[in-house]
């Protein structure tokens, strides 16, 4: 178990060396410029537009990890057989999975932190340029909480990537499965709500109803982690929601890691 941290570190380093940080820094510079300039085009809600742009960029930056880095680092590990380098060292497969997850979490964290700093800089610049009355209602805490939840959402997606990579050998398939998870995760709640609505009306097959329910429980409800709107309007957060979200994220991640380890342990690495 004490090998988890070294694996995390090596994953983190390998991820960073792929010029990720340069990319993210350039992107965050662009973000600052873009956010400051474009919000000037709007008349009233300058702050809202800025927060929208910045938080969306943070989410996008975070999503780079599951979609590009994670699959590269995990499926690539098996495809290029670099995994032998790690597993030859008396490292159990569960430590491998946990270490990889931790490494990916660190990568996600650093990217989000850089973009967060860029966001704060952008907002600071905007206060210098635009009239002060735009920023009267501005508070930092919704911004932070929403970013934290976005981070948790990306971690949930990361954990599903781990599961997909441990059940399939092909990185293409893993990408496809991750993309599907992402899309389902963002629409499942709306679809289930729509289906439940129909239930009270005319007959709808109980099969579909059950499927919809099952999908809600099986796939991660990623849309729930999206609190950008609340942050953009500086709305107060419901503490119950935040607690539920935190617990949900953590338990869902544990389930995914459990399953990933379960499958990964039973699998050949030819």
């Amino acid at each position: 178990m004490n090998s988890i941290l070294p694996i995390a570190v090596i994953t983190f380093k390998e991820g960073l060396r792929r010029r990720v940080l340069y990319g993210v820094m350039v992107a965050s510079l662009l973000l600052i410029l873009f956010a400051v300039l474009i919000s000037g085009l709007f008349m009233r809600d300058i702050l809202k537009v800025m927060v929208d742009i910045c938080l969306s960029s943070i989410s996008l930056g975070g999503l780079l990890v599951p979609f590009f880095l994670a699959i590269n680092l995990l499926a690539g590990d098996i495809e290029n057989r670099t995994i032998y380098t790690l597993l030859a060292r008396n490292i159990s497969r569960s430590s491998y999975i946990l270490g990889k997850f931790l490494g990916l979490a660190m990568l996600t964290g650093i990217i989000i932190i850089i973009l967060m700093i860029a966001t704060l800089v952008a907002i600071y610049c905007a206060t210098l340029i635009y009239p002060a009355h735009n920023f009267l209602h501005f508070t930092l805490s919704p911004l932070f909480i929403s970013t934290l939840m976005a981070f948790l959402g990306v971690l949930v997606l990361n954990s599903t990537v781990l599961l997909w990579c441990s059940v399939t050998t092909s990185s293409f398939l893993a990408t496809l499965l991750t993309l599907s998870t992402y899309i389902i995760g963002h629409s499942v709640e709306d679809v289930v709500r729509f289906m439940n609505l129909k239930n009270t009306g005319v007959e709808i097959s109980p099969m579909i109803q059950a499927t919809a329910k099952a999908v809600l429980y099986i796939f991660p409800n990623l849309a729930a982690f999206d609190l950008k709107q609340q942050a953009a309007y500086s709305l107060p957060f419901v503490s119950q929601e935040i607690t539920l979200l935190g617990l949900y994220g953590l338990s869902y991640i544990s389930i995914m890691l459990f399953l990933a380890i379960f499958f990964f342990k039973r699998r050949d690495l030819p």
């Binding site: 005319v202 429980y217 409800n221 729930a224 709107q229 929601e241 949900y248």
Partner: protein, 286 residues
Amino acid sequence: MKIWRNLFLFTGACVLSSYCASGLYQLHNNNREKKISHFTMIPEPMARAMTLEFPGITSDYLMLKTLTYMGERIMKDEELTPDEWQMIYQTLVQISNLDPRFIDPYIIAQMSLPWDAGMVEETNILLEKAAKILTNDYRPYFFLWYNHFKFLDNPEKAAYYLEKAAAIPGAPPYFSTLAARLNLYAGKTYAGVVFLQEMIKETNDPALLKSLRRRLQALQKIGFLEQKIQKYRKRYQVFPKELQELVDKGLITKIPPDPYGGKFYIMENGRVYTSSNLVLQKKGKK
């Protein structure tokens, strides 16, 4: 031992996650967002650009969201505020921007906006657009006819649209004679019945079907009462003062209940209205 411990932890995580999943679902159900989608607020060219090569599926998704939004309200028998109607209208416009050939937003608009929100002019703008694009579909003109006839009290314009609708292949054959059979005085209720029957044929969304059927039922009852009132008038040369008189004179056995939960009553001109919030009557006056 280890297996049992792991199994226990795993089950625990599953239970916790399910609990949170349903908790979040309920929570989101209770304090629904006041918006359907922020995408609605984006100007048309930008919206088209942002959807890349997926405007079709985006419009489908927005449609789903709109239906859910309206459906929830209809199910709970809640009325929407003018702001909400405005938002629904905006969303429908955006959907038609993204995918102009998509018939659903036009139908939904026609089925709800003029009736429940009094947004006749806005609906007509949408319908004109639809008529221009969907040249093989009689429905946009049919709707325009109805709106002009029923809501705008403009029989000339209405007849013009009905003619156009009848000219399109696939239109029900009785359209061509419909205009002649309708006079403004007695025709509104009948036109409404025709319209609703056409709509019900189109619909398979249960929530909307429910509301349409209720409206049709109410209209049919009003039509039935008005018919009896005419009969009463022929017999006694005056309109009855109250509907009860129809029962007293044996024309009907009892006053039918209003599906909207109100009470029917007679106006001086012999037309039947209802005390319920039958939006059809209230919003129809213009």
